[in-house]
């Protein structure tokens, strides 16, 4: 049996039937990472000692004849902006090169209680800013489907680790599409929950009103299994919410109403991508689902709105990286010692932050500065309301909305890195979802050439059960 290919349920069965031990499983993954990650660079660091300790606990439990939980003994990878106690947490930034997490993020605590094993921390765009994982201070991740291409961003390491069989599942963060976009480019399933459904405590904040943690996995069932463990209200995150009680009557496929927003199937969409996406939706209509063309009228303003709000929150959140409390500091620089406190800030942040981070911090500072606040920040918050209203109106007519995840398949490394605006356009189909706070899943729906294409399934707030159910139907239909 190839241990590295396993899904969550296969791991569980293998452990229960004693086909392998958790320790053997971990060692098999670590050996595969050692070999494969030289090419892919999905990981920034591995947490071998922790993984082996965790595996021993699981093996002892099985040896004692005790029942193991659904995720127990399952090896995973964690995006490096999520804190695992005692392990390095860099957010792929130079400024956090030496930072050791003093506590576990809530999602990590929950996964630890479920018996999940941590293999390591994955590469990302610095502080989750980017659409290609080229903005990592530690070098880009490569797409396992084609090493010349990007894995998408910013959870590119987490997506590539799953696609390259370097873990069973991973966690990512999604601020403007950073789970769904790389999931689509790498050919795995990625899920962004409803805003507030998963605690953000212990996750390095990028744009707090948009950030959401979620899983990336090999199939829909695995994604759901991880989400079920990490969701829920957390007293340490005041913006987290409890799930409302599940609705009794979830529509079945034969009376499902699917909305296709005309603004998403327009100029700029690669015809091969469109063909794949429509073919997947066709699998549902063959089962009786009804298609309706809808309009998300303000879609064309979503990206501009996002860039103001995200950058504004970034400028505030990243003020904490000042070279005083933690991280790499100019204060310890013996060559060019800072002259005063201001100089410590200026130099620490100049050398610690990469270009994309500095661009966004400045854009945000500008949008929030006196004289520009009304014209930029406040106006964007109002446009955000209109974008959220578009979704509300649409969900009065349809159960789910389906769209491509990105206008193209994975692009080449270096292709867009010198042109920020073109790079930002990669996220045009994912960003509105974060502005509205609704959940969305990205799943593979075929290929264009040898590159994977992703289908995005968007639902109203707290409709995750329905999204998973329909995604599962599509996955089954595509397999048969």
């Amino acid at each position: 049996m190839e241990l590295k290919n396993l899904t969550i349920s296969q791991v569980r069965n293998g452990l229960k039937n004693k086909e392998f031990t958790a320790k053997e499983l971990v060692k098999s993954f670590l050996a595969h990472i050692e070999k494969e990650d030289e090419k892919v660079h999905a990981y920034l660091s591995t947490t071998e000692k922790l993984a082996l300790e965790q595996a021993e606990k699981v093996d002892a439990k099985i040896a004692a004849g005790l029942e193991i939980g659904p995720l127990e003994g399952v090896p995973c990878a964690i995006k490096d902006n999520i804190m695992v106690e005692g392990e390095k947490c860099t957010a792929a930034s130079k400024i956090m090169a030496n930072y050791v997490a003093p506590y576990d993020a809530t999602v990590i605590r929950k996964l630890k209680s479920a018996g999940v094993i941590f293999l390591g921390k994955t590469n990302m765009d610095e502080f989750a800013m980017g659409s290609s994982t080229e903005n990592s201070a530690y070098g880009p991740t490569r797409n396992p489907n084609d090493l010349e291409r990007v894995p998408g961003g910013s959870s590119g390491g987490s997506a590539a680790a799953v696609a390259a069989d370097e873990c069973v599942f991973s966690l990512g963060s999604d601020t403007g599409g950073s789970i769904r976009h790389p999931a689509s480019f790498c050919g795995v399933v990625g899920f962004k929950p409803t805003y507030g459904a998963v605690s953000r405590c212990g996750v390095m904040a990028m744009a707090s009103s948009l950030d959401q943690i979620g899983p990336l996995a090999k199939n829909v069932a695995d994604c759901k299994a991880v989400f079920d463990v990490i969701k829920g209200k957390d007293p340490r995150d005041a913006t987290s919410t409890n799930f409302p009680a599940a609705k009794n009557h979830e529509p079945k496929t034969n009376d499902l109403r699917i909305g296709l927003p005309k603004e998403y199937f327009a100029k700029g969409l690669d015809p091969e991508v469109e063909k794949s996406v429509k073919a997947a939706i066709g699998k549902l209509t063959a089962l009786g689902a009804k298609i309706k063309e809808i309009s998300l009228l303000h879609s064309e303003y979503a990206l501009a709105c996002y860039y103001i709000l995200m950058a504004s929150e970034v400028s505030a959140n990243l003020a904490r990286f000042d070279g005083i409390k933690y991280g790499v500091s100019a204060i310890s620089d013996k060559q060019s010692a800072p002259s005063d406190l201001l100089d410590v800030y200026l130099k620490s942040r100049q050398h610690g932050f990469g270009d994309e981070v500095r661009r966004r911090v400045m854009l945000g500072t500008y949008s929030l500065s006196s004289g520009y606040y009304d014209a930029y920040y406040l106006r964007a918050q109002k446009v955000r309301t209109k974008i959220a209203d578009d979704f509300k109106k649409a969900f009065a007519e349809v159960d789910l909305i389906m769209t491509p995840v990105a206008p193209t398949t994975a692009f080449k490394i270096g292709e867009k890195i010198d042109d920020p605006v073109t790079m930002y356009l990669s996220d045009i189909y994912t960003v509105p979802v974060n502005l509205a706070g609704v959940p969305a899943l990205s799943m593979p729906c075929g290929k264009a050439g040898k590159l994977p294409v992703g289908l995005q399934i968007i639902g109203p707030h707290f409709s995750e059960e329905l999204i998973f159910q329909v995604a599962q139907t599509i996955e089954d239909a595509m397999r048969s």
């Binding site: 991280g327 911090v361 706070g437």
Partner: protein, 94 residues
């Protein structure tokens, strides 16, 4: 035109002269793109102030009592510490 030097100072970001040129070009392009928002009629629209629809979430007004060990972990991450304090440059001039 975008005054990069001024904004960088507000943002507490050191920039080289080369940086200034590069960021002026990038940020001008981004702002041109963002100007699109001026087309939207937002008359009478309420801004989105809270994304999860929550209202004034409160907790007890109490500090968290840190244990010795957790204090040590936090201080271990500080660039410069002395005893149980983080060391900084003088805040007031001579």
């Amino acid at each position: 035109m975008f005054d990069v030097a001024h904004i960088a100072k507000l943002a507490r970001l050191g920039l080289s002269q080369e940086d200034e040129k590069k960021f002026a070009k990038d940020l001008t392009a981004i702002l041109d793109f963002i100007d699109k928002l001026k087309e939207v009629d937002v008359e009478g629209v309420e801004p989105t102030l809270q994304a999860a629809g929550l209202n004034s979430v409160m907790r007890r007004d109490e500090g968290i009592k840190r244990q010795e060990e957790s204090r040590k972990k936090l201080l271990a991450n500080a660039p410069e510490a002395k005893d149980d304090y983080i060391k900084v440059k003088a805040v007031f001039g001579e």
